[in-house]
């Protein structure tokens, strides 16, 4: 009887229910946005790793996060190739230099990644398909989200980086993440020609690939033993945990969007509660009548909870659709990788249901006032 009754109450006053749906939709959308941004920041920090082929990552013990990794001698990485479990050990080199061909004479800082184009360590198809351009002397590939401040990014344009002329060979799609306002890829040879003092002796990231079927954790432990304490080996899950914790706890990001998330949930509870308790007070005589003919408080509470849950569930679908649109907009506006994953969706659904139940519980105090003797 509770479901049917809840349904009757909800469909009795359609205008009011439509309004309720709109309210809960906004509340859920709000949770979507805050949660999306909360996760987008660590995802932005993971952008390069998500497009890199490796099972284990060798880094310096000074490693902070991807764009500030410290450096270690190349020999540490090449030594890994002696392990029978290791298929490939590929170095990645980072450097930041002035892009002296910016708009209006500005010299924005360019984040550069040097790597072996033959290695396949970077997976985006727009990179692997442009290997020919990368191996040309003094030629770079530029990330497609590099900011307009860098001027037109088009193949064939010659630009000055530090004191050397480089030709833009094309652009690739990966994203600049938190590496900087502009990112470029170079072959190892071009990297060392542009930065002769930097050279290729000190590596920033060592991407290690293992034979299929070997246990990464076991190999990581073994390799860690053989390499010195000044380097560190991450498995992929360890790396994800490290980067996520860096961006959520070491920066203000976690607190900013975490507090936003908390307030969104409270606001959501307020909205649903307002809707449900208005319904309760409007239907008070009816509830009292039900009590009078023998329905217990439990049955009435169940009805209110069902109402609350159905409004939340009904509002969830449209909120999901609206969130997809809004995420797209945020992605374009902020260049943050705000994505609607299954995990987020499940989290938001759970939060919506919790909001609904809490609101229903809060609305029940009104229900207890339903005294049959008072109503008539």
């Amino acid at each position: 009887m509770t479901v049917a009754l809840a349904w009757r109450i909800l469909t009795y006053d359609k205008g009011r229910t439509a309004l309720a749906l709109l309210g809960i939709l906004m509340a859920i959308l709000l949770v979507f946005i805050q949660l999306g941004l909360f996760f987008a920041v660590p995802q932005g920090g993971m952008l390069l790793y998500d497009h890199m082929r490796f099972d284990l990552l060798l880094v310096s013990d000074q490693y902070e996060y991807q764009a500030q990794p410290g450096a270690f001698p190349l020999s540490r990485l090449t030594a890994m190739r002696n392990s029978p479990d290791v298929v490939a050990a590929t170095p990645l080199y980072f450097a930041v230099e002035k892009w002296k061909s910016g708009k209006d004479g500005l010299w924005p800082d360019l984040f550069m990644i040097g790597f072996d184009p033959a290695s396949d360590v970077l997976t985006p198809p727009s990179i692997t398909s442009q290997r020919a351009a990368l191996v040309k002397p003094d030629t770079i590939l530029v990330d497609s989200t590099t900011r307009p401040m860098f001027g037109q990014i088009e193949a064939g344009r010659v630009v000055q980086i530090d004191d050397r002329k480089e030709t833009i060979g094309g652009s690739y799609v990966l994203g600049t993440g938190f590496m900087g306002l502009g990112v470029a890829l170079l072959s190892e040879a071009n990297f060392s020609r542009l930065l002769p003092r930097r050279g290729l002796g000190m590596v920033n990231l060592g991407a290690i690939r293992l034979k299929p079927g070997v246990d990464p954790e076991r190999v990581a432990a073994e390799l860690q033993k053989s390499t010195g304490p000044d380097t560190r080996i991450f498995t992929r899950p360890e790396l994800t945990a490290h980067e996520t914790s860096y961006w959520t706890t070491r920066t203000s990001v976690g607190l900013i969007f975490g507090s936003g998330l908390l307030i969104s949930i409270v606001v959501g509870i307020m909205i649903v509660n307002q809707i449900v308790s208005t319904q309760v007070s409007r239907q008070l005589p009816q509830f009292a009548t039900l009590k009078a003919i023998g329905y217990g408080n439990g049955a009435l509470a169940a009805t209110v909870t069902t109402m609350s849950l159905s409004i939340a569930t009904a509002g969830f679908g449209p909120a999901l659709a609206a969130a997809a649109l809004l995420y797209n907009e945020i992605r374009q506006q902020t260049l943050l990788p705000v994505t609607l994953s299954l995990g987020h969706t499940a989290w938001v659904l759970a939060a919506s249901l919790v909001m609904a139940v809490v609101s229903a519980v809060l609305a029940m105090s009104g229900l207890r006032r339903a005294d049959p003797a008072d109503v008539f």
């Binding site: 910016g102 500005l106 203000s252 606001v267």
Partner: protein
């Protein structure tokens, strides 16, 4: 149930505070409605606060510079980037009529590695330097301690630097770039979105930490110029442009701040992110406020109809509804502002962000609150207009 209408006065000549009366008639409902609106307002206040804190953090060092006109390389696209110019140009600037002093600010964001003296871990920090006898900052704590900086290898540290740096602890010495430094005192600045903490020192110490004791003198990040008494700023600015090479930008303090603000607004995601949050808070508040006004109007419909029946014009009732909506908004806004004061303080301390209630935030949030309540009342008010005395009873 009856609302205590007191109609001793006639409409227009001696108005009864109807909006106020109906607002306060149900105390419990008032609490609930102001809680609902209040939380939507709180959401907007937090977003506005974060947005302002973001810009304040990015601008606070520039705001804290004691100068009228500033020199920097034209290639500099933001404050936190290395594009130094040679010290000699400050001498040129000093000789321009109307210039009282031209002092160097040295700065580095990417090459100073601070060792946390407690756990030995090394972190990148931001460093500022000036000549101790030529102060450039307005920060009293820095200026009071500048004599200590005259000795080599002495630094001041930011007690509001992120905790993992250990700058907030009781420390007397550590290493920067592997060189031993003495910590002579502290100041309060706080991190921004580039740097976790700040070290301030003399130009000599700065040079030796970056280039060794025999290295070249450091380039100037920013020339800080003070005008002689009575000098015309724009005339001096023109003269400086003439005297200096075209690679140097000559900016007033307002221009320097506007340049940095424009960069932050253009490049960072903070603007759109917090704007979206504020807009969603507004829409949520609109819905909550609509619900409240709609329910109130429904409950008071007999009273409104009665007023109509005894001759009050519809315009009068409209005004009552709008007034009441605005009062509802203010009733939610006041506790939200009070609560946000506490939250700003708490978050400001935990996240080391300069979260501060400003007149700007007060006015914008009040405007948005009253706006959303009035808008929702306008949508909901149709029922009062249609209220027919004959139908109600």
């Amino acid at each position: 149930m009856a609302v205590a209408f007191s109609l001793s006065g006639r409409a227009g000549s001696h108005p009864v505070p109807l909006a106020w009366r109906s607002l306060t008639a149900h105390k419990w409902r008032l609490v609930r409605s102001s809680a609902g609106i209040g939380f939507a307002v709180l959401l907007m206040l937090m977003q506005l606060g974060f947005q302002q804190a973001f810009f304040d953090a990015a601008l606070q060092v520039l705001r804290g510079l004691d100068g009228d006109i500033f020199l920097q390389s034209i290639h500099k696209y933001q404050f936190a980037t290395q594009a130094p110019f040679s010290y000699g140009l400050l001498t040129t600037a000093k000789n321009v009529p109307g210039v009282a002093s031209a002092r160097p600010l040295y700065a580095d964001w990417y090459n100073l590695f601070w060792k946390n003296p407690r756990d030995g871990k090394v972190y990148l920090v931001r460093g500022f330097a000036f000549e101790p006898d030529k102060p450039v900052f307005l920060f009293p704590e820095v200026n009071d301690q500048r004599d200590k900086l005259a000795a080599d290898g002495v630094v001041l540290v930011d007690r509001r630097g992120r905790r993992f740096l250990g700058m907030n602890r009781d420390i007397s010495q550590t290493e920067i770039n592997g060189v031993k430094v003495e910590i002579a005192g502290k100041f309060a600045l706080g991190p921004d979105f580039v740097s976790d903490g700040t070290v301030i020192m003399s130009g000599r110490t700065f040079a030796s930490l970056l280039h060794g004791t025999l290295g070249n003198p450091p380039g100037v990040a920013l020339g800080v110029i003070k005008l002689a008494a009575g000098a015309d700023p724009s005339a001096v600015q023109r003269e400086l442009r003439k005297a200096l090479p075209a690679t140097i930008a000559v900016l007033t303090k307002a221009q320097l701040l506007a340049f940095e603000r424009a960069f932050q607004a253009d490049v960072s995601s903070a603007g759109p992110i917090f704007a979206i949050g504020t807009i969603v808070g507004f829409v949520v508040g609109l819905l909550i406020s609509y619900q409240i006004t709609f329910t109130e109007i429904s409950d008071l419909l007999p009273q409104y109809a009665t007023l109509k029946a005894i001759g009050y014009p519809t315009v009068f009732l409209l005004r009552v509804v709008l007034e009441q909506a605005a009062l509802n908004g203010v009733a939610g806004w006041i506790p939200a502002v009070l609560l946000s004061l506490g939250l700003y303080r708490l978050i400001g301390q935990i996240a080391l962000l300069p979260m501060q209630m400003s007149l700007g935030i007060i006015f914008v949030s009040l405007g948005l609150t009253v706006g959303m309540c009035l808008l929702s009342a306008v949508i909901a008010v149709g029922r009062v207009v249609r209220a027919d005395p004959a139908e109600v009873f």
